[in-house]
């Protein structure tokens, strides 16, 4: 019977191509628009560390000035001072402690045909790799000894390895960065976490760093972050006391993320942070009230407003538009189905039960939905392409990629939407009194 109903749907839809096109266009437009904005939002709302969300914790200490908070209402800085980071790297029980900051250094490829170019470098402690789990294709990260001794080792990102080493296993080879040779210890596979959890303060979307070297090397080279460096007191200006002064200042510029073993350790680490700040207060630091944060990944992304309010509003508007499209489809289907009163009457007279008619007309709605869904999918892809063109070269560009799971979601939404739209017209159609329709024809 399903095949018969499908065939009847095709015959019926072919009979009035303009009406059919209107219905498909209404569903397609609604689906296209809502799925485009939903794709952007779902990329924004992603959590690459969802599987250990509660154990990976972002450390925030409020070392800001007494006069005003870092950000209203009473938000602590999202970055940390070098002084606190080094203290916390030494003390406090955690499974992993990943401190990092980004900068840019020149990379000189061994091949003569490649000209040197500037590359985003992340100066990070070796724990960065187990915490953020970039896919290691060859080799591995580095350990505590390399961190301590500022050993010239490097983990190379996928693209850089393709470009400089032709995609080979380059572990053991040399990479010249900033005028020094680094031994390649690890090579990553393609890695593009969205949002970029380890560093959101300069935009949570966009490409990740391509080269990773030990944190201590950045300090040895007297580098600052190429992203955000914020100070609250004039006395902390690095020019006044040189790089040593910068390191001892309360200026914030470093990311610190810890991974804890269990909830017990999370609670213990929270207590440890409070004790640490109380201790520092005695030394005259931390003029503000105790205001530490130890956010989980999702809390951290939410606090950083990685998903903008505009994006949410846009999705609501798009779904409201879908609703309008569906209401239009309801109207069109109602007109179409009620125009078939004599057919309904006849089918009832020759033995069709109400559920059989219900199935027939709902199948027709579903066909409209599936075709509308395919159109919607095409429009979504076009919409995302337009967004990518519009935001080409910016971090927003990364948001406009279709997740193929969403293809299924799109088709599902289209099907459910069209079935919902078809429900009332179908029900109305089934209420047709066969006797009156047969006589009036």
């Amino acid at each position: 019977m399903f095949r018969y109903n499908l065939w009847l749907a095709a015959v019926s839809l072919k009979r009035n191509p303009v009406l059919t096109a209107l219905m498909i266009a209404a569903i397609g437009l609604g689906i296209g628009m809502s799925m485009t904005s939903f794709t952007v939002l779902s990329t924004m709302s992603g959590n690459p560390l969802a599987h250990k969300n509660e154990l990976v914790r972002r450390v925030q200490l409020d070392n800001w000035g007494a006069e005003q908070p870092f950000r209203e209402p009473n938000e602590p800085p999202e970055l940390m001072s070098y002084r606190d980071v080094t203290n916390l790297l030494e003390k406090g029980e955690a499974q992993y402690k990943a401190a990092s900051f980004p900068n840019v250094l020149p990379l000189e490829p061994a091949q003569r045909e490649l000209t040197p170019y500037m590359i985003q470098v992340l100066f990070a402690t070796g724990d960065f790799f187990p915490v953020f789990e970039p896919p290691m294709r060859y080799g591995q990260g580095w350990g505590k000894a390399e961190d301590r001794d500022a050993t010239r080792v490097v983990v190379v990102g996928h693209e850089t390895n393709e470009k400089v080493f032709g995609g080979e296993n380059s572990v053991g080879r040399k990479l010249r960065i900033g005028g020094e040779d680094y031994a390649v210890v690890g090579v990553l596979g393609p890695w593009n976490p969205q949002p970029k959890v380890h560093h959101v303060s300069n935009g949570a979307f966009g490409g990740v760093e391509e080269v990773f070297v030990p944190f201590a090397i950045g300090i040895e080279k007297e580098l600052q972050s190429s992203s955000n460096n914020s100070c609250w007191s004039e006395g902390d200006d690095d020019d006044a006391t040189g790089y040593r002064g910068w390191l001892e200042s309360d200026c914030v510029w470093l990311d610190l993320t810890v991974q804890l073993k269990d909830q017990e350790q999370v609670a213990a680490y929270r207590r440890f942070l409070d004790d640490y700040v109380r201790e520092e207060k005695k030394a005259g630091r931390f003029p503000r009230e105790l205001n530490n944060r130890l956010y989980s990944v999702s809390e951290w992304l939410s606090a950083q407003k990685v998903v903008s309010r505009d994006a949410r509003t846009q999705v609501w508007l798009a779904f409201a538009f879908l609703l309008v499209c569906l209401l239009n489809t309801v109207g069109l289907l109602l007109a179409k189905f009620l125009g078939k009163s004599s057919e309904i009457g006849l089918r009832r007279a020759v033995g069709a039960s109400k559920p059989q008619l219900f199935a027939q007309f709902l199948t027709e709605s579903a066909v409209v939905g599936v075709v509308g869904g395919v159109l919607g999918l095409a429009l979504s892809l076009l919409g995302l392409l337009a967004l990518r063109t519009l935001y080409a070269g910016t971090s927003q560009e990364e948001l406009a990629h279709m997740d193929w799971n969403l293809v299924l979601v799109t088709m599902g939404v289209a099907l459910v939407a069209s079935l919902l739209a078809g429900l009332y017209p179908t029900w109305r159609a089934c209420q047709v009194q066969p006797a009156t329709q047969l006589k009036t024809q």
Binding site: K14, S342, L346, R347, R348, G351, Q356, K439
Partner: protein
Amino acid sequence: MLKMKNLSKVYRTHMIETHALRGFDIHVREGEFVAVSGPSGSGKTTFLNIAGLLEDFSAGDFHLDGIDVRGMDDAARSRLRNEKIGFIFQGFNLMPDLNLFDNVDVPLRYRKFDAAERKRRIDAALGRVGLSSRMKHYPSELSGGQQQRVAIARALAGSPRLLLADEPTGNLDSLMARGVMELLEEIHSQGTTIIMVSHDPELAARAQRNVHIVDGQVTDFDEEPRFDAPAANTPSPVAAPPQIA
């Protein structure tokens, strides 16, 4: 075949009650050809709709082929309608998007016959009304008389025990009307019970028995047929009618 006793049908709105049928008694025997006549609004169509299980009745008894249909749910009525009753309407009620084959196929689809059985029945039914060669044509390509023949083929394809015809020649000229009437007589001669509503006294006179309805009641009822009805179980060329459970 069809027995109604003290049947009534009341249409109610919030203002008025209309008695379409009241104290309605009729008994149509297996294999009879009954013509029902009466002035407009007398209740002829209401009777036919109730007889065809398209409408429910308000009170009384109604047995169809020995089955008490009172209180039957929609699915059971649909099944009974599909298996035992064929309809012929004044307006033919063919589906314009479907060719003749698919039009005749409509009732068979709800009977859950397999494709081969459906084809056999459609071929036989269209053959019986003389339209085998036009199976792939659409209703709009046929004359009124031919369209009514397709409607008759559709009604016959399921081998119904009872054929209900509501002014079957009302939209046809006299020549076409005669052809359709002859076809009905032939179907009747092969054993199918027919109840036909008609305004035309000439056509009504060709039935075995005439029933006159006025104000929702049977006023003139020939209890004895004017000529003998054929044996009830005469095989039809389409298929043997299903046996009563």
